[in-house]
Symmetry: C2
Subunit: 297 residues, 2 copies
């Protein structure tokens, strides 16, 4: 997804909120704000918003000297999600369609996102979980997802945030997990899950976990390691969590299922849905190709 | 009022909305956006937000070649307000306290403000009028306002927007209008009232109307004409309408009553009220001086 004009003031607002999160010093906040204005002013709008966010977060780390401002928040939400885990696992098991329930919860877990510029509270998580099990979700997409997972040989599950990773674990437990490799970021950015979070939550005991070699809040292929790119190319199914992965992968010609809790009006417009909705969406580009192949038959 | 950090992303957003209002051409919108980012990035934060807004509006006029993008909107709201005028005049006359009702309506008219980044609809105006007559307003401030008006010899009534100017007329009719001079902007900026609007609405038939010599969306004294500054210095009471006048005059040591419909969280915080509230507020600086004088006695 390209950067829309509406992303520009939002990126500036996020830079300010980040600066405030990291430091109470107004001089530093102003410096971050001015540098962010300069960076955003020079931005190539064909790039996706996470490419600019990556630059802003690097700037923030450089100016503040704080390498992982969200370290505490990440651990807090890992612990919270691990506390919920047994109850959620039971909820899934008790359902007529455990996999569909696990998909819902995995999307609900995507509420734990500090990248959209608001502080997530424990109450947001519990409310979202409750809503998720009742909310409508595209039934055809779920059927398609199940079939695609069954047929796939190699699945790359690209995670999004710490805390949320426990919800990913609940879903992966319902999938043929021997086919799955889980992907975390190569370095800290916002509250995105890194290898530490995979270890803290035991994801590494369930499936192989790899780092993507990048500190962008999304998956910018050209910024990722050769190893990740090779696995991405080899996989015949990508499961991609969250807005950042949607923004960076929505134009990639690949068999991708996006699992997103929509938190921003620009992405909502791009997806053709409303802010707050839970989305399970197969990559458009791939569908176009399938359609063309179908038509050619 | 200085520019708060929160004003920065908002100024960028406003520049974008303005660009979209003036032109559908994306290339031009992008140009305005990038130039606005540069201007805002270089901004002196001790200045008030209208000082930056003035620069952004000049930039917009320069880049688009459109001198008065809101001309049509201004006339539309003048006509709407003139249509409401007889009914509102009757509403005021029927009240136990006509002056207090006129103050409420004058503040309600301040909803017709395109400077805060949203499109005002006719329904917003009628709803705000209805709410205004019922909403709570500082009774002590109204009493103080009445007394101050009675004692004043020369009153400068600094208007804000087109359309709203008809509501100002309704208030001025309840005041000793031979003491009042009404002030409009020296050139078009957003939907702020200019001499044309004073003539369209007949304000010039009720009181003397003068231009302030500036195209800022507020009252930046150093940017105004010598004539205006002289009248400002001579007046013993200033009635100042709207957020822009509050932002630019709140730190001036002068006997000022601000009449504001609060539309922005930063100004709400500065005023110690909520967004949406109607405010009648005597200038703080002046009160401080009075307090000091009282204490010294």
């Amino acid at each position: 997804m390209k950067t829309y004009f509406d992303c520009i003031p939002c990126l500036v607002r996020q830079a300010l909120e980040l600066a405030r999160f990291v430091s109470e010093e107004e001089g530093l906040q102003e410096k971050v704000l001015r540098e962010a204005l300069r960076l955003v002013g020079e931005m190539d709008l064909r790039q996706s918003p996470p490419e600019m966010a990556q630059k802003i977060h690097r700037l923030l780390r450089f100016l503040t000297g704080v390498n992982d401002p969200y370290a505490e928040v990440k651990t807090k939400f890992n612990i919270l999600a691990l506390q919920l885990y047994p109850e959620l696992k039971k909820k899934i098991a008790d359902r007529d369609d455990p996999l569909a329930a696990a998909v819902r919860l995995a999307i609900a877990g995507n509420i734990i996102d500090f990248g959209v510029g608001f502080a997530v509270e424990q109450s947001d998580v519990t409310r979202t979980i409750k809503d998720a099990l009742a909310a409508s979700l595209d039934e055809a997409a779920i059927a398609d997802f199940k079939q695609t997972v069954r047929q796939a040989r190699k699945i790359l599950y690209i995670g999004d945030n710490a805390g949320e990773i426990v919800f990913d674990k609940l879903l992966i437990e319902q999938l043929p997990h021997q086919k799955i490799t889980f992907v975390v970021k190569g370095g800290p950015v916002i509250n995105d899950a890194t290898m530490e979070d995979a270890i803290e939550t035991g994801m590494n005991e369930l499936v192989e976990v790899i780092e993507n070699g990048s500190d962008a809040p999304g998956t910018i292929l050209e910024d990722c390691s050769d190893n990740f790119r090779r696995l991405f190319a080899d996989a015949d199914l990508i499961i991609a969590k969250g807005q950042g992965n949607y923004e960076t992968l929505s134009d990639i010609e690949k068999n991708i299922f996006f699992l997103v809790k929509v938190k921003c009006p620009v992405i909502a417009r791009d997806l053709g849905c409303k802010v707050g909705e839970m989305i399970l969406r197969k990559s458009k580009v791939h569908n176009d190709i399938v359609d063309l192949v179908e038509e050619a038959k």
